[in-house]
Symmetry: C2
Subunit: 188 residues, 2 copies
């Protein structure tokens, strides 16, 4: 297989499995089966499981950055951009119902494991936090922009947790509407 194609395949499979089954519960055997490789060959690409995790987090950071850039390009103004974020729990509704928020569940697991890569996982939250803060600042709320950013982040985490627990998509829709109304009131 040419270049880093196999490596990228491993990272993609691990990314999905870590999300669906959790980091610790996902074995090398499971990743190997998903990619179609033998267990032994893994260590040519990664020296340890923690190294795969680091690569997965790096991959998610890049994907998040790209998504935020896209929102930046496509959305008309800061309010519309924040709405994009608010709606993400509905956009990714099926996955969140089945597996929760990828950032929130990974961060929580690594915290309990006292895993060395925990700060890198938390940095995924910071990516959204900083981006949201910039949007609220552009909305003329520079003074409490960070507080508002955390509030919106907390909203998405709470909705994701309960959507995963109860599997109730109507609840998600109602909460998105409520949060959009809150944003509209803030913007006016």
């Amino acid at each position: 297989m040419a270049g880093g194609a196999t490596r990228a395949q491993i990272v993609a499979a691990a990314d999905r499995l870590f999300y669906e089954q959790g980091f610790e519960h996902t074995s090398f055997t499971a990743i190997a089966e998903a990619v179609g490789l033998s267990r032994g060959n893994f260590y040519y690409h990664f020296k340890s499981k923690d190294e795969i995790l680091a690569a997965v987090i790096g991959c998610r950071v890049e994907a998040t950055r790209a998504m935020l850039r896209q929102w930046e390009d496509e959305a008309a103004g800061p309010a519309e951009r924040i709405r994009r974020f608010i709606r993400i729990v509905e956009t990714n509704g099926a996955d969140i119902r089945d597996y929760g928020c990828p950032v929130g569940t990974l961060t929580a697991e690594l915290a309990k494991l006292r895993h060395p890569s925990r700060p890198e996982a938390t940095a995924l939250f910071t990516l959204f936090r900083d981006w949201l803060r910039a949007q609220f600042t552009a909305l003329g709320r520079a003074r409490d922009a960070d507080e508002l950013a955390l509030h919106v982040l907390a909203f998405s985490q709470g909705v994701a947790a309960l959507a995963n627990a109860f599997g109730d998509q109507d609840f998600v829709r109602r909460e998105v509407e409520r949060q959009e109304a809150w944003l509209a009131a803030l913007d006016s």
Copy 2:
């Protein structure tokens, strides 16, 4: 050791360790060390690890019921009772910062593990949901009591997730104030 005292000690130690380290990550060895027993003796009290989990969840159900009863007794009216719930993320601030919400993190882990005891863990959420719904009904909001109950539950889950990720107690305090203001506006 007399009666079910050892059993109760095992459940208490497992309860704490499942919370701090996660269910799967907690080994029999760790529980045995915490209680001061040998690994082998465990199977006199519990046939499997899953049986300990079931006992831990049962224990948490009882503790939650007792807490809700206490709030029922001590608080003046439904609004004050809901405030008690809202403040719990601040009351249990240190634990939540270190380990997240005990209900939310367990439910999320069991969902990823596709564990048979997952419904029992979700029932812990339902306990709070039903109790909150009763309080909102008593507040004269019978029509949307369940929606409001889920909204308050989502608030606590979101705050717990971010408190755990960022370790920011000021954020928790601000969100509690915001939610109390929301409740006051609802009540008037």
